[in-house]
Symmetry: C2
Amino acid sequence: MLSFAEENYLKAIYHLAEQSGQSVSTNAIADELNTKAASVTDMIKRLSSKGVLSYQKYRGVYVSEAGKIAALQVIRKHRLWETFLVAKLKFNWDEVHEVAEQLEHIKSPLLIKRLDEFLGHPKFDPHGDPIPDENGEYKEKPKTPLFELQIEQSGIVVTVQDDSPAFLQYLDKIGIYIGAKIKVVDKVEFDGSMEIQIDGRKTNFISKQVSENIWLTE
Amino acid sequence: MLSFAEENYLKAIYHLAEQSGQSVSTNAIADELNTKAASVTDMIKRLSSKGVLSYQKYRGVYVSEAGKIAALQVIRKHRLWETFLVAKLKFNWDEVHEVAEQLEHIKSPLLIKRLDEFLGHPKFDPHGDPIPDENGEYKEKPKTPLFELQIEQSGIVVTVQDDSPAFLQYLDKIGIYIGAKIKVVDKVEFDGSMEIQIDGRKTNFISKQVSENIWLTE
DNA sequence: AATTATTTTTAGATTTGACTAAAATTAATA
DNA sequence: TATTAATTTTAGTCAAATCTAAAAATAATT
């Protein structure tokens, strides 16, 4: 049984490993969790001895198969709770993360089973991220960053890469949400910014930084 | 801000103080929380320095006004979560306690506000206990233990004193729930047991121990 | 290749919360 | 009231999770 802190480390390391596809460095973990490298080394040893990480001194860590299963269950809980908060308790999508960070550590298989049923077995959370099932299985929708679309091309928003409240509030303000239809009206080569049309209505100018974090499907 | 463990101590001490009406002893707290007296002494000191308990060596502790407010907020959260689990997630009333013990420590005023709204501002939890509001105010229903009723008298179940799964499962089995109508058919002076009729249907024999833990209103 | 810079680990402390064993205090009883 | 019994507190440990500062290992650069 993993503790609260152990689950947080494992989840962060899992995400970093998925992104990079290779071993995860001590400093990367410390940055992600706003902690110090020395603390990370301590925790890495503990998690290795529990079999969820494999680790060689100075060589970074990998998540073991057992670790992946455990991490996916924490992610499953996090995303189910986020879905609950938005779908049932009328939270905005920028308000859910912190609360879900707490709720994801509640230990009760029955609770998660019933919550999943109550929500109708959702497959994606409010940010468009897939929710793993009891076995850790999930399907990603095929997707491309808005940034890569050409003029006149369009797509449906399926995910946002950045989950920060500031970004999500900005998206709210300009009318972008999961499921919105976006068409590229114009692109500025110089800085990578673009003009887009949302749901066939008004147009907006967005920066490259924004268009890289919005992912679409056809 | 109180920690998880501090909140658990405070809540337990608050309950013990309410029951006895006087100062709470170190051993009573240790018994309640299945811990050792030495640990309790440590925690009492910490909670006193935080202003939620008043304490004199060897003299037991009292809950301060600030402590009562804090304790009632934890109790509010516990009972709202229990209500959620039964009303929305189809938990039985004997399954909710352990999970609510975890959920009650989630820190998010917005979450509790929204949960309360979602549940329709319930005034009583699944065991009939009152749910304090944001200000810690609550109303108890006037009630008497079933044990004190005479033959032919009847009442509506409003609370059960014992929340243990074993007791609640027994009540389920014989058809007793919050809101059930119970009539005393016969009483046995010798051992305090009685024969009761539930909802005008079948009759059951129950022991004194059981009838003391079921509370009724008119 | 040798030196410098960066990253990672170790060593030693700190805090929270819990424990055991012994000492101090209060309560009970002969 | 003196002694015994029970309760409570103190003193000293321990584990989890964190930190700073210093040492060790790896990576980068002249």
